[in-house]
Amino acid sequence: MTTAMIIAAMAGTTMALRFLPFLVFGKDTPKYISYLGKVLPQAIIALLVVYCLKDVSIMSHPFGIPELIAGVSVVIMQAWKRNAVISILLGTVIYMFIIRIM
């Protein structure tokens, strides 16, 4: 019973966070919120990149080198071919290869 209740609390809270902005601002969206909606995606994606790399240590082995090389490969590939599937596949393969040889 407790298990179900804890899971329900997690599910309910997560749903509340996802639905709340739509319930509050969905009908008459204030200009300020529309503005945030336009500029936030770029800022949030940057935040997510940093979030994924937060535990990388540049002071100790392997010094963030796998992340750097694989990350730069993704940027170059994406800028060149504009195809996310290819960029992500390439970056992941490069990363998995480097961490095995370093």
């Binding site: 407790t2 609390a9 909606g37 770029q42 949030i44 935040l47 990350g71």
Partner: protein, 226 residues
């Protein structure tokens, strides 16, 4: 059918990551003594990756409802931001809207937040199927992990980088598509600053507040620019 195919192709980058991370979650939940029903229930109803990992600790520790709610808010506060930036995009989503909002994970958000390459009548179905495919990968992964109960025989070490690569690819794509790089640089700068000041366990909420503050302060200038 064409729309479903497009949605599937768009969801491929998330497939490997969600299945493997889902398996990881399923294994941990299994080892904590919970069966496959719970794995499925969590992945269907909570559907938030990092929260479900944290949730295993809450379950085994027998956390109170208050602790659970507060922890969930701390871990998932960023979802408020995803929703705020999708309000205008999801305005005319009709019957798909509740599920689109429910299924807005980090990865789904990054696939859909700048995808305008569809006509008005197909975009809702397209968004729905991208969201649905992603959740299917996550549910399949967690159920499989819970059934297996042990680590898969071949080494998948490093495959979690596919999630990082997904965000880097989205960042690059948005950078190329926009003339104004101030929002991207604001996000990058604020997050790095907060990571240095608050450390890797506590920087997310300060980062989001700082980003909102800076973007609010430069609003006048930004709206003139666009």
């Amino acid at each position: 059918m064409e729309v479903i195919k497009k949605a599937f192709y768009r969801s491929i980058p998330v497939m490997a990551g969600y299945i493997v991370l889902g398996i990881g979650f399923g294994i941990l939940l299994h080892n904590a003594g919970y069966g496959v029903i719970w794995a499925a229930a969590m992945s269907v109803f909570i559907y938030a990756g990092s929260m479900q990992y944290v949730g295993i600790g809450l379950l085994t520790g027998g956390a109170s409802i208050i602790t659970t709610v507060i922890t969930t808010i701390m871990v998932n506060a960023r979802h408020l931001f995803y929703s705020i930036s999708m309000i205008d995009k999801y305005k005319r989503s009709g019957k798909y809207k509740p599920y689109l909002i429910f299924a807005l994970t980090d990865e789904t958000y990054s696939l859909l937040c700048d995808d305008e390459d569809h006509s008005e009548e197909t975009i809702n179905r397209y968004r729905f199927f991208v969201s649905l495919f992603n959740q299917c990968y996550w549910v399949i992964g967690s159920v499989a992990g819970c059934l297996l109960g042990t680590v898969i025989p071949f080494s998948t070490k490093g495959i979690e980088f596919s999630m990082t690569a997904l965000f880097i690819a989205s960042f690059t794509e948005q950078w190329i598509n926009s003339k104004n790089h101030i929002p991207a640089l604001t996000g990058l700068g604020c997050t790095l600053l907060c990571l240095i000041i608050f450390g890797s366990d506590r920087f997310m909420i300060p980062s989001m507040l700082l980003i909102t503050l800076i973007l609010t302060l430069i609003r006048g200038r930004e709206e003139k620019a666009s």
